[in-house]
């Protein structure tokens, strides 16, 4: 039941965001569409507690802020590499251990790495190792461990 309610709520919010109209008739229409989607999709029941939601949302915001800072910092680094006349790249593939337990966790971890300029996940091993292609593999290897530790700590706050 809770999984259904969550899916309906997500659909309703998406519908309201797209139509930008919060009249009652529009909300009812959005809820009806959400219920239709939920009936068709039949989401699997999942154990989730509403009490944890504020903490998870707060951690998600903190994670997003950290990611934004990381993206800007790495973006400047990559821009300097590209604009340098000598083009000082040292490309290579670096194995980064992702200790996330769930598939969603590993996917989010790979997404966080790929969205950062200068790093991009090429392949994911069966044990969850992220094989990351880096523009400057020497610099990335030096900072990868610490960055991955911060990333992991922040993401664990979201999931549990």
């Amino acid at each position: 039941m809770l999984a259904y309610a969550r899916l309906v709520l997500i659909c309703l919010l998406l519908f309201l965001a797209l139509t930008e109209n919060v009249e009652l008739s529009n909300i009812v229409l959005g809820a009806l569409i959400g219920i239709l989607v939920a009936v068709i999709l039949k989401p699997a029941p999942e154990s989730l507690s509403i009490r944890r939601l504020p903490v998870a949302l707060f951690n998600l915001a903190r994670y997003t802020a950290w990611l934004a800072v990381d993206i800007i910092r790495n973006g400047i680094r990559v821009a300097r590499i590209v604009l340098d006349p000598k083009l000082p790249i040292r490309p290579g593939i670096l194995a980064i251990k992702s200790d996330m337990k769930t598939e969603l966790g590993i996917a989010l971890n790979a997404h966080a790495i790929t969205v950062t300029p200068g790093e991009q996940v090429v392949e994911i091993g069966e044990d969850g190792t992220l094989y990351t292609h880096c523009l400057d593999v020497v610099a990335s290897a030096a900072g990868a461990e610490a960055a991955q530790r911060t990333r992991r700590r922040l993401m664990e706050g979201i999931f549990e």
Partner: protein
């Protein structure tokens, strides 16, 4: 009050347009200058996400694109962009496109190790570059 708000919105739009254009310019320069598929994907993938994202921000501040639509658009861009560049890089590696000026390759090592981690869906590693 109304005037001040408009001025702030215009300043935000200006910053976003300049930022997005600079980002796209550097990305395209990188796309031309970098040597191979993988490094070029770095440039192309990030331009298509952040260059477009900043221009969407400018469109919200200056034109009549709604905030809700813009948020959905930004979320889709951020989710889809990295997935696309990962899929392209993975496909390039599996079909054996060589890397240039490579300094280190942990993936090739993992694949050639006898009991190393296997990879999803790849059945032969004989034709891959070392």
């Amino acid at each position: 009050m109304d005037f001040t708000l408009k001025l702030i919105l215009q300043a935000v739009a200006l910053l976003a347009i300049v930022g997005g254009s600079l980002f796209s310019l550097i990305g395209v320069l990188g796309f031309i200058r970098l040597p191979d598929v993988y490094t070029r994907l770095h440039a192309a993938g990030k331009v298509s996400v952040f260059g477009a994202l900043l221009l969407v921000v400018a469109a919200v501040a200056l034109e009549s694109l709604g905030v809700g639509k813009a948020l959905v658009l930004i979320a889709l861009l951020i989710i889809a962009g990295p997935a696309v560049s990962h899929a392209l890089a993975s496909a390039a590696y599996r079909t054996g496109v060589p890397m240039k000026r490579v300094e280190r390759d942990d993936l090739a090592q993992a694949r050639s190790a006898p009991l190393g981690p296997g990879l999803h869906g790849a059945d032969s590693s004989a034709d891959l570059p070392v």
